[in-house]
Symmetry: C2
Subunit: 200 residues, 2 copies
Protein backbone atom coordinates (compact mmCIF):
# COMPACT_ATOMS: atom_id res chain seq x y z
CA UNK A 1 0.00 0.00 0.00
CA UNK A 2 0.98 3.60 -0.55
CA UNK A 3 0.16 5.51 2.63
CA UNK A 4 0.43 9.23 3.35
CA UNK A 5 0.86 10.17 7.03
CA UNK A 6 0.30 13.86 7.73
CA UNK A 7 2.01 14.60 11.01
CA UNK A 8 4.02 11.41 10.68
CA UNK A 9 6.98 12.93 12.53
CA UNK A 10 4.92 13.84 15.61
CA UNK A 11 4.59 12.03 18.94
CA UNK A 12 2.03 9.48 17.75
CA UNK A 13 2.85 9.80 14.06
CA UNK A 14 6.37 8.46 14.37
CA UNK A 15 5.15 5.25 16.01
CA UNK A 16 2.52 4.77 13.31
CA UNK A 17 5.08 5.50 10.60
CA UNK A 18 7.66 3.13 12.06
CA UNK A 19 5.13 0.32 12.18
CA UNK A 20 3.61 0.82 8.74
CA UNK A 21 6.85 1.31 6.83
CA UNK A 22 7.91 -2.23 7.70
CA UNK A 23 5.60 -3.49 4.96
CA UNK A 24 4.32 -0.44 3.07
CA UNK A 25 5.38 2.63 1.16
CA UNK A 26 4.91 5.39 3.71
CA UNK A 27 5.11 9.08 2.84
CA UNK A 28 5.56 11.35 5.85
CA UNK A 29 4.33 14.94 5.51
CA UNK A 30 4.16 17.79 7.98
CA UNK A 31 4.93 21.36 8.86
CA UNK A 32 8.56 20.59 9.61
CA UNK A 33 9.07 18.52 6.49
CA UNK A 34 10.82 20.36 3.70
CA UNK A 35 10.17 17.71 1.07
CA UNK A 36 6.48 16.99 1.79
CA UNK A 37 5.42 20.21 3.50
CA UNK A 38 1.85 20.63 4.67
CA UNK A 39 0.10 22.77 7.26
CA UNK A 40 -3.46 21.46 7.49
CA UNK A 41 -4.68 24.91 8.58
CA UNK A 42 -3.78 26.06 5.05
CA UNK A 43 -5.98 24.15 2.62
CA UNK A 44 -3.90 25.14 -0.42
CA UNK A 45 -0.94 23.29 1.11
CA UNK A 46 -3.14 20.19 1.47
CA UNK A 47 -4.17 20.35 -2.17
CA UNK A 48 -0.59 20.86 -3.31
CA UNK A 49 0.67 17.91 -1.27
CA UNK A 50 -2.07 15.56 -2.49
CA UNK A 51 -1.54 16.49 -6.13
CA UNK A 52 2.16 15.72 -5.72
CA UNK A 53 1.84 12.33 -4.03
CA UNK A 54 -1.50 10.79 -5.06
CA UNK A 55 -3.14 8.42 -5.86
CA UNK A 56 -3.00 6.82 -2.43
CA UNK A 57 -4.34 3.72 -0.72
CA UNK A 58 -4.60 5.44 2.63
CA UNK A 59 -4.29 8.86 4.18
CA UNK A 60 -3.66 9.19 7.90
CA UNK A 61 -3.85 12.58 9.59
CA UNK A 62 -2.13 12.73 12.98
CA UNK A 63 -1.90 16.51 12.89
CA UNK A 64 -3.93 19.43 14.16
CA UNK A 65 -3.75 21.79 17.09
CA UNK A 66 -6.13 23.60 19.41
CA UNK A 67 -5.54 26.12 22.17
CA UNK A 68 -5.68 24.89 25.76
CA UNK A 69 -6.57 27.48 28.38
CA UNK A 70 -9.05 28.33 31.11
CA UNK A 71 -12.53 28.82 29.68
CA UNK A 72 -12.57 32.34 31.14
CA UNK A 73 -9.40 33.21 29.22
CA UNK A 74 -10.01 31.65 25.81
CA UNK A 75 -10.44 34.43 23.25
CA UNK A 76 -12.14 34.33 19.86
CA UNK A 77 -8.66 34.12 18.30
CA UNK A 78 -7.80 31.19 20.58
CA UNK A 79 -10.89 29.27 19.42
CA UNK A 80 -9.98 30.08 15.85
CA UNK A 81 -6.72 28.12 16.14
CA UNK A 82 -8.62 24.88 16.78
CA UNK A 83 -11.32 25.66 14.23
CA UNK A 84 -8.79 26.23 11.44
CA UNK A 85 -6.37 23.43 12.37
CA UNK A 86 -7.72 20.40 14.22
CA UNK A 87 -11.31 20.87 12.98
CA UNK A 88 -11.41 22.34 9.47
CA UNK A 89 -7.85 21.24 8.78
CA UNK A 90 -8.91 17.62 9.16
CA UNK A 91 -12.20 18.27 7.33
CA UNK A 92 -10.18 19.65 4.42
CA UNK A 93 -7.87 16.63 4.45
CA UNK A 94 -11.03 14.59 3.79
CA UNK A 95 -12.59 17.04 1.29
CA UNK A 96 -9.47 17.01 -0.88
CA UNK A 97 -8.18 13.60 0.16
CA UNK A 98 -11.10 11.61 -1.27
CA UNK A 99 -10.16 12.97 -4.70
CA UNK A 100 -6.70 11.43 -4.46
CA UNK A 101 -7.57 7.99 -3.08
CA UNK A 102 -7.49 4.78 -5.06
CA UNK A 103 -10.87 3.00 -5.15
CA UNK A 104 -11.59 1.50 -1.74
CA UNK A 105 -8.96 3.65 -0.05
CA UNK A 106 -9.28 5.03 3.44
CA UNK A 107 -8.82 8.20 5.44
CA UNK A 108 -8.06 8.12 9.16
CA UNK A 109 -8.34 11.23 11.29
CA UNK A 110 -7.14 11.76 14.87
CA UNK A 111 -9.09 13.04 17.84
CA UNK A 112 -8.79 12.21 21.52
CA UNK A 113 -10.47 11.27 24.76
CA UNK A 114 -11.36 14.94 25.38
CA UNK A 115 -14.23 14.58 22.94
CA UNK A 116 -15.97 12.13 25.26
CA UNK A 117 -14.39 12.90 28.60
CA UNK A 118 -12.86 16.38 28.74
CA UNK A 119 -10.64 17.87 31.41
CA UNK A 120 -10.21 21.49 32.51
CA UNK A 121 -8.83 24.00 29.98
CA UNK A 122 -10.24 22.06 27.03
CA UNK A 123 -13.40 23.95 26.07
CA UNK A 124 -11.85 24.56 22.65
CA UNK A 125 -9.85 21.34 22.33
CA UNK A 126 -12.72 19.09 23.38
CA UNK A 127 -15.08 20.93 21.03
CA UNK A 128 -13.02 20.40 17.91
CA UNK A 129 -12.43 16.73 18.74
CA UNK A 130 -16.15 16.18 19.30
CA UNK A 131 -16.93 17.91 16.03
CA UNK A 132 -14.67 15.52 14.15
CA UNK A 133 -16.38 12.50 15.75
CA UNK A 134 -19.76 13.53 14.38
CA UNK A 135 -18.27 14.64 11.04
CA UNK A 136 -16.65 11.23 10.47
CA UNK A 137 -19.92 9.42 11.11
CA UNK A 138 -21.80 11.77 8.77
CA UNK A 139 -19.31 11.61 5.90
CA UNK A 140 -19.12 7.81 5.97
CA UNK A 141 -22.82 7.70 5.08
CA UNK A 142 -22.08 9.45 1.80
CA UNK A 143 -18.77 7.86 0.81
CA UNK A 144 -20.36 4.42 0.74
CA UNK A 145 -18.05 1.86 -0.89
CA UNK A 146 -15.96 4.55 -2.61
CA UNK A 147 -13.79 5.16 0.43
CA UNK A 148 -13.69 4.48 4.15
CA UNK A 149 -13.25 7.07 6.88
CA UNK A 150 -12.61 6.61 10.60
CA UNK A 151 -11.14 8.50 13.52
CA UNK A 152 -8.74 7.18 16.12
CA UNK A 153 -9.48 8.72 19.50
CA UNK A 154 -6.69 8.01 21.96
CA UNK A 155 -6.36 8.67 25.66
CA UNK A 156 -3.18 10.16 27.12
CA UNK A 157 -0.55 8.25 25.19
CA UNK A 158 2.43 6.79 27.00
CA UNK A 159 4.92 8.76 24.88
CA UNK A 160 3.57 12.10 26.14
CA UNK A 161 2.23 10.98 29.52
CA UNK A 162 4.89 12.82 31.49
CA UNK A 163 4.12 16.09 29.72
CA UNK A 164 0.33 15.86 30.07
CA UNK A 165 -0.39 13.80 33.17
CA UNK A 166 -0.98 16.87 35.38
CA UNK A 167 -3.88 17.83 33.12
CA UNK A 168 -5.38 14.32 33.30
CA UNK A 169 -5.49 13.32 36.97
CA UNK A 170 -5.87 9.58 37.34
CA UNK A 171 -5.74 8.78 33.64
CA UNK A 172 -3.61 5.78 32.78
CA UNK A 173 -1.03 6.04 30.00
CA UNK A 174 -2.13 4.25 26.85
CA UNK A 175 0.61 1.96 25.47
CA UNK A 176 1.87 3.17 22.07
CA UNK A 177 1.36 -0.26 20.53
CA UNK A 178 -2.36 -0.04 21.29
CA UNK A 179 -2.52 3.42 19.74
CA UNK A 180 -0.71 2.17 16.63
CA UNK A 181 -3.17 -0.70 16.45
CA UNK A 182 -6.03 1.81 16.29
CA UNK A 183 -4.58 3.17 13.06
CA UNK A 184 -3.85 -0.33 11.75
CA UNK A 185 -7.46 -1.26 12.39
CA UNK A 186 -8.72 1.79 10.52
CA UNK A 187 -6.42 1.34 7.51
CA UNK A 188 -6.57 -2.44 7.09
CA UNK A 189 -9.97 -3.28 8.63
CA UNK A 190 -13.39 -2.90 7.01
CA UNK A 191 -14.83 -0.25 9.33
CA UNK A 192 -16.13 3.07 8.11
CA UNK A 193 -17.70 5.88 10.11
CA UNK A 194 -16.21 4.44 13.27
CA UNK A 195 -14.64 6.22 16.20
CA UNK A 196 -11.91 3.83 17.28
CA UNK A 197 -11.52 4.60 20.96
CA UNK A 198 -8.20 3.61 22.54
CA UNK A 199 -8.61 4.83 26.09
CA UNK A 200 -6.83 2.24 28.22
CA UNK B 1 -37.23 33.35 37.39
CA UNK B 2 -36.07 35.74 34.70
CA UNK B 3 -35.31 33.69 31.60
CA UNK B 4 -33.88 34.78 28.25
CA UNK B 5 -34.75 32.59 25.27
CA UNK B 6 -32.65 33.28 22.19
CA UNK B 7 -34.59 31.91 19.24
CA UNK B 8 -37.75 31.86 21.33
CA UNK B 9 -39.94 32.54 18.28
CA UNK B 10 -38.63 29.53 16.34
CA UNK B 11 -40.12 26.06 15.89
CA UNK B 12 -38.95 24.67 19.21
CA UNK B 13 -38.49 28.02 20.91
CA UNK B 14 -42.14 28.98 20.82
CA UNK B 15 -43.17 25.80 22.63
CA UNK B 16 -40.50 26.36 25.28
CA UNK B 17 -41.52 30.01 25.62
CA UNK B 18 -45.22 29.19 25.90
CA UNK B 19 -44.54 26.69 28.66
CA UNK B 20 -42.11 28.78 30.69
CA UNK B 21 -44.01 32.05 30.55
CA UNK B 22 -46.90 30.47 32.47
CA UNK B 23 -44.89 30.90 35.65
CA UNK B 24 -41.81 32.98 34.80
CA UNK B 25 -40.64 36.23 33.27
CA UNK B 26 -39.58 35.17 29.78
CA UNK B 27 -37.67 37.44 27.41
CA UNK B 28 -37.72 36.31 23.79
CA UNK B 29 -34.84 37.42 21.57
CA UNK B 30 -33.97 36.61 18.00
CA UNK B 31 -33.05 37.78 14.53
CA UNK B 32 -36.64 38.70 13.72
CA UNK B 33 -37.21 40.49 16.99
CA UNK B 34 -36.99 44.28 16.72
CA UNK B 35 -37.08 44.87 20.48
CA UNK B 36 -34.61 42.18 21.60
CA UNK B 37 -32.59 41.68 18.43
CA UNK B 38 -29.76 39.17 18.37
CA UNK B 39 -27.95 37.19 15.70
CA UNK B 40 -25.72 34.72 17.52
CA UNK B 41 -23.31 34.69 14.56
CA UNK B 42 -22.53 38.32 15.51
CA UNK B 43 -21.00 38.29 18.98
CA UNK B 44 -21.39 42.04 19.44
CA UNK B 45 -25.17 41.61 19.18
CA UNK B 46 -25.00 38.95 21.92
CA UNK B 47 -23.07 41.30 24.22
CA UNK B 48 -25.47 44.16 23.52
CA UNK B 49 -28.51 41.99 24.26
CA UNK B 50 -27.09 40.61 27.50
CA UNK B 51 -26.08 44.04 28.77
CA UNK B 52 -29.62 45.24 28.13
CA UNK B 53 -31.51 42.40 29.83
CA UNK B 54 -29.24 40.92 32.52
CA UNK B 55 -28.84 39.73 35.21
CA UNK B 56 -30.68 36.52 34.41
CA UNK B 57 -31.56 33.26 36.13
CA UNK B 58 -31.42 31.28 32.93
CA UNK B 59 -30.38 31.67 29.32
CA UNK B 60 -31.74 29.26 26.73
CA UNK B 61 -30.37 29.26 23.19
CA UNK B 62 -32.62 27.59 20.63
CA UNK B 63 -30.92 29.34 17.72
CA UNK B 64 -28.14 28.57 15.29
CA UNK B 65 -27.92 27.36 11.74
CA UNK B 66 -25.68 25.16 9.62
CA UNK B 67 -25.66 24.37 5.92
CA UNK B 68 -27.11 21.04 4.79
CA UNK B 69 -25.80 19.66 1.52
CA UNK B 70 -24.06 16.69 -0.06
CA UNK B 71 -20.56 16.27 1.33
CA UNK B 72 -19.16 16.58 -2.20
CA UNK B 73 -20.85 19.96 -2.60
CA UNK B 74 -20.19 21.64 0.75
CA UNK B 75 -17.76 24.53 0.24
CA UNK B 76 -15.50 26.24 2.77
CA UNK B 77 -18.06 29.06 2.90
CA UNK B 78 -20.84 26.54 3.58
CA UNK B 79 -18.93 25.10 6.56
CA UNK B 80 -18.33 28.63 7.77
CA UNK B 81 -22.06 29.21 8.24
CA UNK B 82 -22.28 26.47 10.85
CA UNK B 83 -18.96 27.39 12.47
CA UNK B 84 -20.03 31.00 12.98
CA UNK B 85 -23.66 30.36 13.95
CA UNK B 86 -24.54 27.02 15.55
CA UNK B 87 -21.02 26.37 16.87
CA UNK B 88 -19.25 29.62 17.82
CA UNK B 89 -22.56 31.47 18.12
CA UNK B 90 -23.56 29.16 20.95
CA UNK B 91 -20.04 29.19 22.40
CA UNK B 92 -20.23 32.99 22.50
CA UNK B 93 -23.64 32.86 24.18
CA UNK B 94 -21.87 30.97 26.97
CA UNK B 95 -18.70 33.11 26.99
CA UNK B 96 -20.71 36.32 27.44
CA UNK B 97 -23.75 34.74 29.10
CA UNK B 98 -21.93 33.58 32.23
CA UNK B 99 -21.11 37.23 32.95
CA UNK B 100 -24.80 38.12 33.06
CA UNK B 101 -26.14 35.21 35.10
CA UNK B 102 -27.27 35.47 38.69
CA UNK B 103 -25.33 33.11 41.03
CA UNK B 104 -26.40 29.54 40.38
CA UNK B 105 -27.98 30.44 37.04
CA UNK B 106 -27.96 28.17 34.02
CA UNK B 107 -27.31 28.19 30.31
CA UNK B 108 -28.98 25.67 28.00
CA UNK B 109 -27.78 25.17 24.43
CA UNK B 110 -29.49 23.26 21.63
CA UNK B 111 -28.02 20.55 19.42
CA UNK B 112 -29.70 17.54 17.83
CA UNK B 113 -29.63 13.85 17.10
CA UNK B 114 -27.25 14.44 14.17
CA UNK B 115 -24.39 14.75 16.63
CA UNK B 116 -24.79 11.09 17.63
CA UNK B 117 -26.59 9.63 14.65
CA UNK B 118 -26.18 11.72 11.50
CA UNK B 119 -28.01 11.39 8.19
CA UNK B 120 -26.86 12.24 4.67
CA UNK B 121 -26.07 15.87 3.85
CA UNK B 122 -25.08 16.65 7.45
CA UNK B 123 -21.27 16.60 7.41
CA UNK B 124 -21.34 20.24 8.53
CA UNK B 125 -24.51 20.15 10.65
CA UNK B 126 -23.52 16.98 12.52
CA UNK B 127 -20.04 18.38 13.12
CA UNK B 128 -21.16 21.58 14.81
CA UNK B 129 -23.67 19.73 16.98
CA UNK B 130 -21.04 17.22 18.06
CA UNK B 131 -18.66 20.05 18.85
CA UNK B 132 -21.21 21.62 21.18
CA UNK B 133 -21.72 18.31 23.02
CA UNK B 134 -18.05 18.11 23.94
CA UNK B 135 -17.84 21.86 24.64
CA UNK B 136 -20.70 21.69 27.15
CA UNK B 137 -19.07 18.84 29.04
CA UNK B 138 -15.72 20.66 29.11
CA UNK B 139 -17.09 24.03 30.24
CA UNK B 140 -19.14 22.50 33.05
CA UNK B 141 -15.90 21.29 34.66
CA UNK B 142 -14.76 24.90 35.05
CA UNK B 143 -18.01 26.64 35.96
CA UNK B 144 -18.38 24.50 39.06
CA UNK B 145 -21.10 25.84 41.33
CA UNK B 146 -21.04 29.30 39.72
CA UNK B 147 -23.37 28.31 36.90
CA UNK B 148 -24.78 25.23 35.23
CA UNK B 149 -24.59 24.42 31.52
CA UNK B 150 -26.36 21.70 29.53
CA UNK B 151 -27.42 20.97 25.97
CA UNK B 152 -30.76 19.62 24.82
CA UNK B 153 -30.29 17.31 21.86
CA UNK B 154 -33.63 16.53 20.21
CA UNK B 155 -34.56 14.12 17.45
CA UNK B 156 -36.84 15.20 14.60
CA UNK B 157 -39.43 17.19 16.50
CA UNK B 158 -43.12 16.68 15.75
CA UNK B 159 -43.63 20.35 14.81
CA UNK B 160 -41.21 20.10 11.89
CA UNK B 161 -41.55 16.39 11.12
CA UNK B 162 -43.37 16.94 7.85
CA UNK B 163 -40.64 19.26 6.59
CA UNK B 164 -37.72 17.02 7.57
CA UNK B 165 -38.96 13.42 7.53
CA UNK B 166 -37.56 12.70 4.06
CA UNK B 167 -34.07 13.40 5.39
CA UNK B 168 -34.62 11.09 8.39
CA UNK B 169 -36.00 7.79 7.07
CA UNK B 170 -37.66 5.80 9.81
CA UNK B 171 -37.15 8.36 12.54
CA UNK B 172 -40.17 8.85 14.77
CA UNK B 173 -41.42 12.37 15.49
CA UNK B 174 -40.54 13.50 19.00
CA UNK B 175 -43.57 14.98 20.84
CA UNK B 176 -43.11 18.69 21.56
CA UNK B 177 -43.97 18.20 25.23
CA UNK B 178 -41.01 15.85 25.61
CA UNK B 179 -38.74 18.39 23.92
CA UNK B 180 -40.03 21.15 26.20
CA UNK B 181 -39.35 18.90 29.16
CA UNK B 182 -35.72 18.63 28.10
CA UNK B 183 -35.36 22.38 28.56
CA UNK B 184 -37.35 22.29 31.81
CA UNK B 185 -34.98 19.64 33.12
CA UNK B 186 -31.94 21.71 32.22
CA UNK B 187 -33.25 24.97 33.70
CA UNK B 188 -34.88 23.65 36.89
CA UNK B 189 -32.90 20.45 37.55
CA UNK B 190 -29.46 20.13 39.12
CA UNK B 191 -27.58 18.74 36.12
CA UNK B 192 -24.55 20.41 34.64
CA UNK B 193 -22.38 19.27 31.74
CA UNK B 194 -25.17 16.99 30.60
CA UNK B 195 -26.37 16.25 27.08
CA UNK B 196 -30.11 15.80 27.55
CA UNK B 197 -31.03 13.48 24.70
CA UNK B 198 -34.68 13.52 23.63
CA UNK B 199 -34.70 11.09 20.74
CA UNK B 200 -38.02 9.27 20.99
Amino acid sequence: MKILIIGGAGTIGKYVTEHLQQAHEVLVAGRSDQHLYVDIADSSSIQKLLSAVGPLDAIICVAGEAKWDDFAKLSAADYDIGLRSKLMGQVNVVRYGVQHLKPGGSITLSTGILADDPVKKTASAAMVNGGIHSFVQAVALELGSKARINAVSAGVVAASYEKYQAYFPGHNPVPMQKVVNGYVRSVFGADSGKIIRIYE
